[in-house]
Symmetry: C2
Amino acid sequence: MAKRISIRHVAAAAGVSVATVSRALNMPDRVSPELRGRVDAAARELGYLANGAARALASRRTGAMGAVVPTLDNAIFATCMDAFQRRLDAAHGMSLLVASAGYDPALETRGLRSLLQRGVDGILLVGAAHEPETWSLLPAEMPTVITWTHHAEGCARPCIGFDNAAAAARMTRHLLELGHRRIAMIAGVARGNDRAAARIAGVRAALAEAGLGLEPPLLAERAYSVADGHAAMTALLALDPRPTAVICGNDHLAFGAVAAARARGLSVPADISVTGFDDLEFPAHGDPPLTTVHVPAAEMGRRAADHLAALAAGEVPPLPPELEAPIMLRGTTAPPPGRAAPRR
Amino acid sequence: MAKRISIRHVAAAAGVSVATVSRALNMPDRVSPELRGRVDAAARELGYLANGAARALASRRTGAMGAVVPTLDNAIFATCMDAFQRRLDAAHGMSLLVASAGYDPALETRGLRSLLQRGVDGILLVGAAHEPETWSLLPAEMPTVITWTHHAEGCARPCIGFDNAAAAARMTRHLLELGHRRIAMIAGVARGNDRAAARIAGVRAALAEAGLGLEPPLLAERAYSVADGHAAMTALLALDPRPTAVICGNDHLAFGAVAAARARGLSVPADISVTGFDDLEFPAHGDPPLTTVHVPAAEMGRRAADHLAALAAGEVPPLPPELEAPIMLRGTTAPPPGRAAPRR
DNA sequence: GGATCATTTGTAAACGTTTTCACGATACGA
DNA sequence: TCGTATCGTGAAAACGTTTACAAATGATCC
């Protein structure tokens, strides 16, 4: 590219030193109104855009935050990133650098390394379970937040999230209260995914309170996709006796599960109840609308932005509170067949 | 942050000059195997991570690409960004800086300015219609690609996309061939959105071939959401006579439209046909699965990455070909009520 | 009426790389 | 044996900002 306008040109045009230009642009109140006006005019006139690299090098801050997410292809993370980026830009003048790791620990480490090297003022991570190498890459003084979880034991970083296990347990108890006893779960792949694991643990704990267990074939771990949910549900329906309720690890699985049940001629929720996790737009408007756990994705994104920005500015923000993940009771849960709705 | 390991430390540890360290790391074949080994060892030993800002300043390239998208909250763009980022990283060692503009021209300009200032080696834009200020921000030599459209008249930048109007026209003709004559459209908001406008134009053109028109109330422009699709469909169903087919500007609108029709006790497609645009995962597995236009979002992302990387490397890649946007015939279209399926 | 202090400005030193240039050494062709 | 390429290396000059630091000016206070 042709040589761009530099701060020197602006300084010359305004008849001041480069330092004054820098100050006029970055700390307008430290410069007299008169010079500030001249500088602003010259900058606008010349179409001056500061060189980010030089600025970052000299000031030791880049004005960009990095995020490492499992994927952008799942709306729940995309929603979070959208809110994160918007808040970063609107409230803190910062940009977003994203790396998606595809649920692959090696890719995650690689992505983080690349963000760090590229230079970011902070890092957003999803979940608290990461490779040792990932953790060792992060200097203690690098502003970092963990999202999507809250009670992360042994995690030295602030967590902006909710309690996956508790939310899953609550949903399970709802099913138990409706009278279900034969409850299955189509979970996400738990290996390397602490959120998926916590959801399984929550369901299992709630079932245990009722004297029930959760083992294969009633527990299936599948990749988060509608097709996988469909396939897993089809397998569950072949069981005898078949479950009367199926808890799914996310909305994709649940949506597929509902479709599979209907394909088998079953009515949801009359014949079988299905629950999801995430609360995405489509399943919420499905037929019937999906009963699910609301995940505050956008809220996590916004809070993460504020927290990271504060950390990067050297402030010591209060530890983030646990977020709510309320159950959205909609149309896919009901008492098991042959049982009246419970009195309330 | 505590002072990080710099290239100087590595040079000292390896007993060579900083120039040699730089070369050993960036152009390994320009350095003798012996020294290269010493440098690599020292770098690994010290956990050296190059400072991206310094590197960018000296080399005049940042290794990051910028993208300005309308939103990340719509899966179609998130999917594109996911593929874009993955290809950027895997094939070109580059990172992704995203700005989402929320369909607001002013925010778009602002986002672009921020990306440019931050320093990117190239820019991905969605659609060819942008504010004059947006265009004037982009120096001619800044590698840029337009996605989501192909025949953009008067657009000096390479376009990686498909023909929105032609795809919409094809879908319309499919409906006409099924025997529909009273066809409505729930479109996206066309103002400032050339894709939405092109889709309307395509539908209108195909209808005109059949001697039909498309005006309000048969044409409604709504924000891209399931709820808006639901509301618009409800209004359409109050018409007398009501349309026998509704073409929607995207899958969100279509999904909501289907739900609204069923809520009114109508059967889709027996009583009324509905079509979408995008081909998202959920509607494709709905009940019935949505007939829609497939938008090659991931493919556009990958191609954009390759094209931009080539441009940034000073190559002159061939102009990208037009991409396919095939119609996915699924379960929401059928002949209008009281009319047999057409012979084939 | 000085001394002190804050305010505004300029000078120049970082910031951590890449890259040009020069240099010596080695290989090659005549 | 003597130029002449070729190669590997180091010294040092960018790259375009920010930010101590110092200097100059004017205001404030005994």
